[in-house]
Symmetry: C2
DNA sequence: GTCTATACGGTGATAGAC
DNA sequence: GTCTATCACCGTATAGAC
């Protein structure tokens, strides 16, 4: 990918994370990314919606990677998920609660207002869910259970990250991680 | 509360639920609510932010009520939570995924950009969490566990409602409800 | 590929008549 | 209490020079 284009996407990702889609203007994107002002519509002929779509897909891929590498630190799934949640909680606090993933806010803003952005959000979440699912299968979970459980884990992460950002504290995420770990352990025993 | 003011708040609540805060304009609010156009700043001297704040608090109270009455249908907490989730899943589908609570989107949009709205979101979530917590205490859960567990339940609801809205299917919420019920049952046994 | 200038609609907010 | 008129500003998008 072109260097300028990548720079636009990277900076847009950060803006969407902080402000969401509707609050982020094109002027702000070119200002923050330092990209040539006249080249925006050259790289993204469809305008803002295309910038959003490409940014969200790119972000989803990076998030899935982060989940994958985070989970690979420990073999046991319950422990690995707990560790990952703790590291995210620290990162959210360090960012002054402006981090937490660019997807959630935009996904809600566009769930019914832009089909293009909605579809790309679905794909991004699917990538993240797959990362959890893969680790579950490695841990010996049966395939269909792994899919459902991965969706549940994703929901817990998203919900507790939301509460952490709103309450300006990493604790909701940390407590959710503890409950999630306990639940997964109870499933591992039964197998 | 005044009739006109209430009508503005009710309609704003629906708009925030569908579109979020930044996508909702004052013109749209007066159009949709049928309220006298000139009276907006009479009832809400601080403008849009005040409309948002009062709407979110009002919505939070109503959501907490709904949780309370929903949970009171069944005695057992695990069963009650499951039943509530199922009824929300149906409601979300019936709304074409435009429902799911006005808080989540606005809470994320304003988490770091408006202190006033952030504080009112926190209060709204606290009301909802209290509704879960109260039921847990009634079920014999120890106080501090009840608080933490209520926060976890709230996170699971928020996260899985998000996924349901994005994926245009009530299933993420339904599956999360099943996992949540199983986890709660495992805690009940231990007590 | 990148620039400047600009079109055009919509935004939140205010003033002053009634 | 409610209306209309109007403000200054910002949004996305486009045109045309270079």
């Amino acid at each position: 990918m072109n260097q300028t284009k990548l720079e636009i996407i990277e900076n847009t990702s950060a803006l969407l994370e902080r402000q969401g889609y509707n609050a982020t203007g094109l002027n702000q994107i070119v200002a923050e990314s330092g990209a040539p002002k006249g080249s925006l519509y050259y790289y993204f002929p469809d305008g803002k919606e295309q910038i959003g779509a490409e940014t969200l897909l790119w972000s989803g891929e990076r998030m899935a990677e982060r989940i994958h590498t985070g989970l690979s630190q420990v073999e046991d799934f319950g422990e690995a998920v707990h560790l990952l949640a703790m590291s995210i909680a620290n990162a959210i606090e360090a960012s002054n609660f402006q981090a937490g993933g660019p997807l959630t806010t935009v996904a809600l803003e566009t769930a019914t207002s832009s089909e293009r952005l909605n579809l790309v959000c679905r794909e991004a979440y699917a990538l993240m869910q797959s990362a959890f699912e893969k680790k579950l299968v490695e841990n010996g979970f049966e395939e269909t259970l792994a899919v459902h459980l991965a969706g549940y884990v994703l929901a817990v992460f998203e919900g507790s990250i939301l509460l952490s950002r709103v309450q300006h504290s990493g604790n909701p995420l940390r407590q959710a991680a503890a409950h999630l770990k306990a639940y997964i352990k109870s499933l591992e025993v039964e197998e």
